[in-house]
Each structure stands twice: as C-alpha cells, then as structure tokens.
Amino acid sequence: MRLQKNTLFALCSVLEAASRPGEVLPAGAIARTYGISPHHLAKVLRTLARAGLVESARGVGGGYRFVGNARRVTLMDVIELFERVGAAPGAGGRRGRRAARGAGENSGSVAVERALAAVLAEIDEIAVATFRSISLATMLKLVARARRA
C-alpha cells in the first residue's frame, strides 16, 4: 500500500499539529522536520484548513494549529481529502470497468481481469478498514510507543 506524497505530508503535518494541541506551529518548522518543500506543504495545509482540521494564525509567530477532534478524526478522514483509496465493492476499479466495456469481445481476458479486480478490491477494503479504525489520538499513542522502542 503506497500513499501519494501529498497524503503522507498531510498525515505528518496533522499528527505533528495534533501532538501539540493549542500550539501554533510555523509551517517552515513542519517542512524542515519532515523534509517537505514549503510550496507543497502550503497546499497541503490549505486543504487541511478547508476541512476544519487546522487553522492558520497570521502575523509574527504565525503558522497552523490543530482544531479537529483527535479522538474522532481518523487516518481515513485525512487520506480522503487527497486521494481515493479503494473501489466500491463489486466495481473493480479501472480494471473492472475496462473489463465490463470489453465484455463479449474476449471473455477469457474479461474473466481474468474480473478475478484480479476482486482480489485487488479485497486488499483495498482491508486498507480502508484499517485507516478508518485508527484515530489521530490512537496514532499519537503509536508514535509515543515508537519513540520508547
């Protein structure tokens, strides 16, 4: 399972902000901590702000602060702002749609693509269930555990 770069930037940013509730974090500091380009990070933070997860504080000492509910917001809530993970059950994604269009032309390849689509959909469903079950608060506990290890 690979997430797009912006999604990973968003997860790092929101977790960093959620780990310091009420504190304003300069965007430059987040960019340096995670090796993210300031340009990319600005776009990511704007999306997070529109979703009500962070808010910007302007002026000297400005930056972003976490304003979401860390016990309610899940990893999936953040990921969905940037990319689509998993296809609807039975849809089979791009492969499935192509297979459906080509039905009748070559039933052998259609069957192969449908079967593959079913396996890929199964993997996606597990990934989605995992992302939906982990709140930011739970993720921060995992971060703390990783620090102690």
């Binding site: 939906r132 079950s133 709140s135 506990k141």
Partner: protein, 146 residues
C-alpha cells in the same frame, strides 16, 4: 460515574440482551442464555462473562475465554463480545471491561489477547485500536457453501 466490573448474574441477562440489541438491531435472547450457561457460571476456568454496573444498572458487558491452539495459535485470550450502552460511551466503561478481562487472562498466565471483528464495524474497531491492539498475523477467510 461509579462503575463496578463483576461477573455476570442471571438477573443481568435481560439488560445485556438489550444492550446488544441496541447495537446490532437484533435481539438474541436464546443466544445470550446459552452464553450465560457456558460462560457465566464462573466455574469453568478461563471463561469470562463480565458486566459493568453503575447504580444498579448494567452499562456494558464483555465475554471471552482462554483457548489453546485455536487456529494454530499458542494459548491466548479471545474477546468475542463487547458492548456498552450508547449513552455512556466515551466514559471509560469499555476500557474498564477490557482491562478486567485482560487481568483475568493474565492471572492464567496468558500474554496475548485477540479479537475478531467485521471490517465495517468502525466503532468497535476504533475502540480496540485505541486500547493498543494491532493487526494479528491471521487472515480470516470464508466461502459460500453451495
């Protein structure tokens, strides 16, 4: 909220059935009577059916047992049912119930606790995740029997 976690009593069962029915939208009194017979007596070592009581009212329950070599796994504790009244969720009752059954498992020398959930049961999945549970090294499989 003053909560006491204790072994279930036969008089608690109607409230347990109601809590389960509220969550699953399906009342299963016969199933719960069977669970009470098998897990509620307190006589079978390694079986636990606990309830959380506050002011004479049952606010939640948990059921589980220690199993040897189930699915090829060395001795571990399995939690197969947990429920808390919606009105008192987020007040630590689920955590108290899980801690109590884990303590029961620990007293029997068990060092691992597992559970199995539907993928779309986000509420309970999130609860177990918040308690530190991670994916187990198993993959549940099924098929239709024609």
């Amino acid at each position: 909220m003053n909560v006491q976690v204790r072994t279930v009593q036969p008089g608690d069962l109607a409230q347990v059935v109601a809590i389960d029915a509220e969550a699953t939208r399906l009342a299963k009194p016969e199933y719960w009577e069977d669970i009470l017979r098998r897990y509620g007596s307190g006589r079978r070592r390694g079986r636990f059916f606990l309830v959380a009581e506050s002011g004479g009212r049952i606010e939640g329950y948990i059921v589980g047992e220690v199993r040897d070599w189930e699915f090829g796994s060395p001795r571990c504790g399995w939690v197969f049912a947990i429920g808390v009244r919606p009105a008192v969720r987020q007040s630590g009752i689920g955590s108290r119930l899980l801690a109590a059954i884990v303590e029961g498992f620990r007293s029997l020398g068990v060092t691992k606790v597992r559970t199995l959930l539907a993928r779309d049961n986000h509420l309970v999945l999130s609860f177990f995740r918040s308690q530190g549970m991670m994916a187990a090294p198993f993959i549940p499989l099924e098929m239709d029997i024609e």
